[in-house]
């Protein structure tokens, strides 16, 4: 069965051109980029090129790019660094809808005596800017807010938030793993201090990330024990993955326009058709500015895991904010923070598209989804009663 892959916020296909770019750096050009000899030197030349390519996508300078192992490491490094450079500041601000890479760390730090404020969102997933303004004070070491939400695609006004943080002398970090490659980002015109990127969300392999660190920002490394990355991240460079990420960023820049026109049109067509064909559904974050590739739709009176497995039978790969898929028992913290009604909190499905998504695939989902929802509602004790006569 050929898969219809609409789960690109979970991970993406490695672009074939990206794979070709990295291929020689395993068995042939396997030198250590830090070595003095010519063999390491030619790898070093390619990783430097990759650094420039990543910087170009972000509107940054190459020396502001620190390669890490993943987005989660970048998030951890950013927050810990801020607390170390400002030991007298004991307050951290984040949001209730952050990725666990940020939220779990903040909650752990709150157990260690740090004050943590989690800013709320409204029903459409928009950040409460008034709450943020009121929360930042001279004790705040760092404000960490995601650029775009992984479940709903809702975009936060991070530039505005960064200005609020900076006014009180706090550092500002943004987990931008879902935004980079999908919407234009220009750090040259930004006041954001630190930014996290994850390679596998933009058609590079898993196991490579970036921490953008604005020039002049005080920093303490998370990983120590080597001079790599100008002693800001110790550990032998994952050269092949770094080279791959450089290529992936170059391609992301080239596809940026298509992402915001072609992919966005496919996303809109998918959600419009599903909303028209299926009663008692709502788009999570539909009223907010969102990523062009993401839509999260909540269906009343059905449960997400059952929908996903029936979709999977048709070869369609999607994701859900449902408790039952994660082994936990409550709907996702994002949907709960948004106050999604309990009638549909358990039945949310996320479709996340990519430049590989075809119109024919969208047609298939538009055809297969309504009968799946109807079938589960027919089985549900609530669906029948509540939908009667509608």
């Amino acid at each position: 069965m050929k898969e219809i892959y609409l789960d690109n916020n979970a991970t993406t296909k490695v672009d074939e051109a990206v794979f070709e770019e990295m291929r020689p750096y395993f068995c042939e050009l396997y030198g250590n980029p830090s070595s003095m000899h010519f063999f390491g030197g030619q790898v070093q030349g390619k990783t430097a090129e990759a650094r420039s390519r990543v910087a170009a996508l972000l509107g940054a300078s190459p020396e502001e790019i620190i390669f890490t192992a993943c987005g989660t490491e970048s998030d951890n490094a950013a927050i810990r660094s801020a607390l170390e450079v400002f030991p007298e500041r004991r307050h951290i601000i984040t949001s209730r809808v952050e990725h666990p890479a940020v939220l779990t760390q903040c909650r752990n730090l709150s157990q260690k005596g740090y004050r943590v404020t989690e800013i709320g969102v409204d029903g459409a997933g928009r950040l409460d800017m008034d709450e943020l303004k009121a929360a930042v004070d001279s004790d705040t070491a760092i404000v960490s807010l995601m650029w775009a939400n992984n479940e709903t695609g809702v975009i936060f006004p991070v530039e505005e938030a960064a200005a609020i943080a900076k006014a009180k002398g706090a550092l500002f970090h943004s987990d931008a793993v879902q935004a980079i490659g999908k919407i234009p980002i220009n750090m040259a015109a930004s006041s954001i201090d630190m930014l996290s990127l994850s390679g596998h969300k933009l058609h590079a392999p898993k196991g490579i990330g970036v921490l953008y660190l604005r020039r002049g920002t005080p920093f303490r490394p998370f990983m120590v024990g080597g001079h790599q990355e100008k002693s800001r991240r110790a550990g032998t460079e994952n050269a092949a993955a770094i080279i791959a990420l450089g290529k992936a960023c170059e391609l992301a820049g080239q596809h940026m326009h298509a992402e915001n026109t072609v992919v966005k049109a496919q996303r809109d067509r998918l959600q419009d058709a599903l909303m028209a064909a299926i009663p008692n559904a709502r788009i999570n974050g539909g009223g907010a500015e969102r990523l062009p590739n993401t839509t999260s739709i909540a269906f009343e009176y059905v449960e997400g895991e059952a929908i996903l497995l029936l979709l999977s039978e048709m070869g369609i790969c999607a994701s859900s904010g449902s408790a039952c898929t994660s082994g936990s028992l409550e709907p996702s913290h994002v949907l709960r923070a948004m106050g999604v009604p309990f009638t549909c909190a358990h039945g949310s499905i996320r479709f996340s598209l990519s430049r590989y998504t075809t119109d024919a695939e969208i047609d298939t989902v538009i055809r297969e989804m309504p009968p799946i929802i109807a079938r589960l509602r027919q089985m549900s004790p609530f669906g029948r009663e509540h939908l009667k006569g509608k």
Binding site: E303, E305, G327, L329, T343, Q378, M379, P381, F382
Partner: protein, 290 residues
Amino acid sequence: MWDYTPIVRDHFLNPRNVGDIPDADAVGEVGSLACGDALKLYIKLDENKDKIVDAKFQTFGCASAIASSSALTEMVKGKNLDEALAISNQDIADFLGGLPEEKMHCSVMGQEALEVAIFKYRGLDIPEHDSEHDHGHAYPDHEGEVVCKCFGITDTFLKKVIETNRLTTAEQVTHFTKAGGACGGCIPKIQELIAQVLGSEDLQPRKRPEKLSNMKKMQLIQEVLERDIRPLLWADGGDLELIDIDGSNVQVAFRKACAGCASSGNTARMVEAKLRDLVAEDIVVEEVSQ
């Protein structure tokens, strides 16, 4: 992906007996929209009101909830009411070739709906279940004290499930009943219930000795800590270390997840209760930070 057996898959993709029975003799309804799963079970008896001749279900929930409901309707057909009441949640899971432990609560929901249906048919009192707003369980023996406020689950119900399925950790209890799966505030209480249930079982073969020398007492304390208490804590990512024993005064320090946990006081009481049960009545457990 969940590791579902081919039987679970089959009952999810081709559920048997979906629907309702307008003139059903017994109907059992458990769960709610807010809880994330719910089951309405219909049972039709033969002319003599003895054997179950038909059963149908409506289920809101995940694949294993649908499969468990489907399996249940197949299992009860042809049984009389007493035979049906004897079906345990484990029987439902076995029928399906097993369920992932995280999904055992689906089989419990099936067993519960069956019990509610039969109790109601027999005229036993069952609290009304508001399907939209009430998180509460419709478990017949609703007498007990609510332990898990998030899902409205009582100690009576929890003890029954712990005993039937011989559960030994709070995590298992969550997988089987959902209790403790949301805010987690009741986990120490669940651990106490486990200790109570296990303790009452253990008491017969493992009697508290009548008189102990100091040496024997110290040995027994260490043994109980190792064998009965630390495994309970490990299951929740915690641990404890024995610091000192002075007569009947036992000093322990909590480690890992237990260290600095707000409910470590409750855990210390659980440890004390267990030691009093199995070693000596006068034991006092003191938590020290070392």
